[in-house]
Symmetry: D3
């Protein structure tokens, strides 16, 4: 299978060797079993720290986004070096570069590509370009819930849904302002729909269960494109 793995920026914020070891072992195992893998890193706290400093000094939105993108690339280099031997040893900086390097047969790790665009959109673009079987969003919750699980302890995980439902859930459940959903933004969803990409939302603590989650044997959400 061809898999694109989007790793939440929160993963790096935990500064946890355990997290990194599970990720390393999982990728190693996927490669050994013959799968092809691309990884997209979020920016996390490092991104927020630099954006904050820039914003205080009056840096414009495009350049603030670039600070976040460079932070996500730093996360991407960390994974690149940890997985050294399996990975392509340079982090591509845009989709055309990614497409060129993908043919090397190595695991490619990227961060952000462009201002005005989430790393979830990067992951959707990458999935479309390589015809991925699954786009896997590894984040700090177990899947898509009917309400934001951060605020509602009674939120229920939805094991299977389609992108139409997802859009409704995200619009209703989220505290952030309209049109800027967490997890997956509208542009990412548009790409997922036009190229019929299957999406998994799962917890990055359970990366070792990734194939079981795809098969629906472990906790996570499977999203069908409409």
């Amino acid at each position: 299978m061809k898999l694109v793995l989007k790793i939440s920026g929160k993963f790096f914020d935990e500064e946890s060797s355990e997290n990194l070891i599970v990720l390393k072992d999982t990728i190693q195992r996927l490669i050994n079993e013959g799968h092809k893998v691309a990884i997209v890193s979020g920016g996390g706290a490092t991104a927020r720290k630099y954006i904050k400093m820039g914003r205080e000094l009056g840096v414009n939105e495009a350049h603030l986004d670039l600070l976040g993108i460079w932070a996500s690339r730093l996360n991407a280099y960390l994974l690149t070096f940890i997985l050294s031997g399996l990975t392509y040893m340079k982090v591509p900086e845009n989709l055309e570069e990614f497409i060129e390097k993908w043919e090397s047969g190595k695991v490619i790790v990227t961060g952000g590509f462009q201002p005005g665009q989430s790393t979830a959109t990067v992951a959707a673009l990458v999935s479309e370009a390589i015809g991925a079987d699954y786009l896997i969003l590894a984040t700090n919750v177990d899947g898509v819930y009917d309400k934001d699980p951060r605020y509602y302890s009674d939120a229920k995980l939805i094991p299977k849904l389609d992108t139409e439902t997802l859009k409704k859930v995200l619009e209703n459940s989220q505290s952030v302002k309209a049109g800027t959903y967490e997890l997956l933004d509208p542009l990412a969803i548009k790409i997922i729909e036009r190229s019929k990409i299957k999406v998994i939302v799962m917890n990055y603590k359970k990366l070792d269960k990734i194939l079981d989650i795809i098969r629906g044997k472990e906790i996570g959400s499977v999203i069908q494109p409409m």
Copy 2:
């Protein structure tokens, strides 16, 4: 002033020397008067021709978009060479490259940047990055109308509107399927709003009137970001 000029792909389809001469003279005059200019070219018929051939052969959406992007870059090179002496002599292929070259002080011409993204979004990103005073959309109609002027001869031009109104007008007036407006798509509008970019919609036949249109003395639409 800093101006970003988005030239519709339709401009190139007309294969009209007259069009090109007016554009050349306008840019020359703007530069002489001390303005700074960036230009973004659409893809037009050349883009559609190659996308059609690719689609018949089963090329995926990401790669089809890249064919359209390379066509828009060909249009961009035409303008680059016509304006030779004023222009930076390479067409940047992504926003980071644009940002780097902008500092040369030359007119920069670009085409598309990335699959899943219109050249209107490219123009919005470029406007945000350089802090443009105006983003000017030069197209084959005189401005924003209350209905699609292609189909309704009684459509009325709206000389001044805000982005909230624009979104409503575009959603109602357009024949294309929901969420994919012509002229300006949602991502372009989001960037325009977050960075408060003023937008002009005008006819590319009237490029020589560009400053009068900005001042509201000639026909065109001025869009205020919300």
Copy 3:
């Protein structure tokens, strides 16, 4: 075998899915049989369209050639994406870049390299650099004729000839001005001669017969370097 395939710009002008399917199947089959392939695309009508617009606006010869080169690269990207999976996913822009990428083991598709130079010369340079067994010129006629077949219905195909004869035939048969032959220009022939490259001229409608033509079993011309 190592094969360099120069595809005439006319091939793309026909906008024919059939043409493209035959090309796709042929390359797939050659690769399956263990051959190594490079492809060079001509510019065709797209090149002429942009050169015409540029010339009307006073663009200089070097820049006009670059418009043609960018058009040929657009053709090259079309082939690159149609053959996606077999191909290197970026079109090299000069011989040094070609040489570097060739080692990837993928099919490399290029367009033009440099002003003042035909894509036939590009194909000869590429053939020399990789030590090609054959340089195949796939065009809209069946081979080299004793007179220009476009104008003389009694023109006779020459199945075997050497480069000395070729030069004479091209000089006599052609309507264009001295020293600028069609099919193969003097620089291309010089390279073919100095590196002893065998050349085939054939019809792109018969690409599926390519190996039979090489073996002399099907219609086409084989040119021996002197």
Copy 4:
């Protein structure tokens, strides 16, 4: 004058707008007065954080250094964007790229260049390449002391010294293991000596006094190359 300013990684760790404002104002003023400036950023806590994660996962020394280098480049981008308008908008990644971009006349900001090499060495290389009048090390102490001021409250600042003396002071005063001095390592000193570069060590809190420090009117150390 041509000035190279090496900003300690510690400067960024303070996440202080005040620090950044002083730096911004200083550079603006230096440019207004006609000086030419290059800036080299250290890696600081961000570098140490990623190196620590990498080391726990068994990443090799060369790749760990690269994590630190990418962190220093993130610091460099922060300065690049804060000084936007004055700066070259890309962080060069090696000396040859720096040399090429320097001719743009803009302020160039770099981070690290290469594993096995401090950003102080980067600053020395940059100073040599452009023939800098002064290499200024802006750090968290007021200058070079006879003992490490971190541990000895009675350490005395040395206002003037030569590189021979500097080497002795650094070797004796420092807690770190032999041959790896803080502030300036042996390779940086070797370059400073072979190209006779004058060096200033000063506190980054006093960046606004930079010209007075050079003139010896304010607290700091001036180092004469031998």
Copy 5:
């Protein structure tokens, strides 16, 4: 005026400081007087040395030419560094890169561009791209002679000629095999003719007289394109 100066490889073989000082002073003076200058370096003995070693080991023609090209680039770097302050600090490796960098306003120095092509052709391509007023060939003889001056002491210098005459003279006078003239090869002459570039042939020992030679006041040959 815009001037392209092609410096013979023989210039570097003399390893003469005097040669280099005259060149440096001449370029400095031309720039001071407001001219714009590009320089193309030949490969000379360094090229021949590496080509000889390569040929003995069976290296192919394309790669041998690349050895010569890299040698000419080494000569180009020597000039770039000697003229540091006036020059663009990287040697462009193809015409598109040259065209991009030319807009920097600096003196650009190049060596060879591509196998199968002399540095005289490089100089003609560069002249065409920038619309040079003169292409100046600085070599080890005083101009074009009616016979090869190396072998005939009674050879007479031709102060004015056109490209038609030049072709005849070169074909008759030269000892090298047909079609590969010294000084200017057929492709270079073709470019000179199509873009009507005026050419000067002069001795590099007299570079300080360059403007007088252009004005016909000093010994040299002026070639008119036909």
Copy 6:
């Protein structure tokens, strides 16, 4: 095994086909036996020639070093082309580029990377980055001696030593000024020590015995990192 082979600049100065043939055969054999190889070329007489010309014209130290680096890259291209088929066909210009290309699986040949740095340091950096089993210094003497063998005919080869001993031997035996040893400079030794790289010093005339020397069966010196 992973082997890094540093070829002395003196190797190229001999302009000996025999040298080149032995090197070619050795690399071919190592690859056939399944080893992975990187090669670093010194600059030799070509470097010295260009540095001398530059120095006479007042070129600064950084730029002089770059002339030497470009000369070593010319040597590297010679090896690249001689070993064509086995090698990556571009000479990387810095460590990050080397690291990226190393994953291609080809033999990578480099010259120098950066001013202020010997090609021995380049070889040490490359060895560290790839985790080389051995760094092999192929030079014009048979190994490390107790005195400089150039001046003392009674100098004795030391078959086994550690880096501590090496430092002492080099400091005492060498005629060059303190701190700038031949063979291996302090920075190279520092890298060798921090990453525990085993080093062999051997004669390039005996490259065909390379594996025997590693096994201690042939004359050469083995250096153990401390």
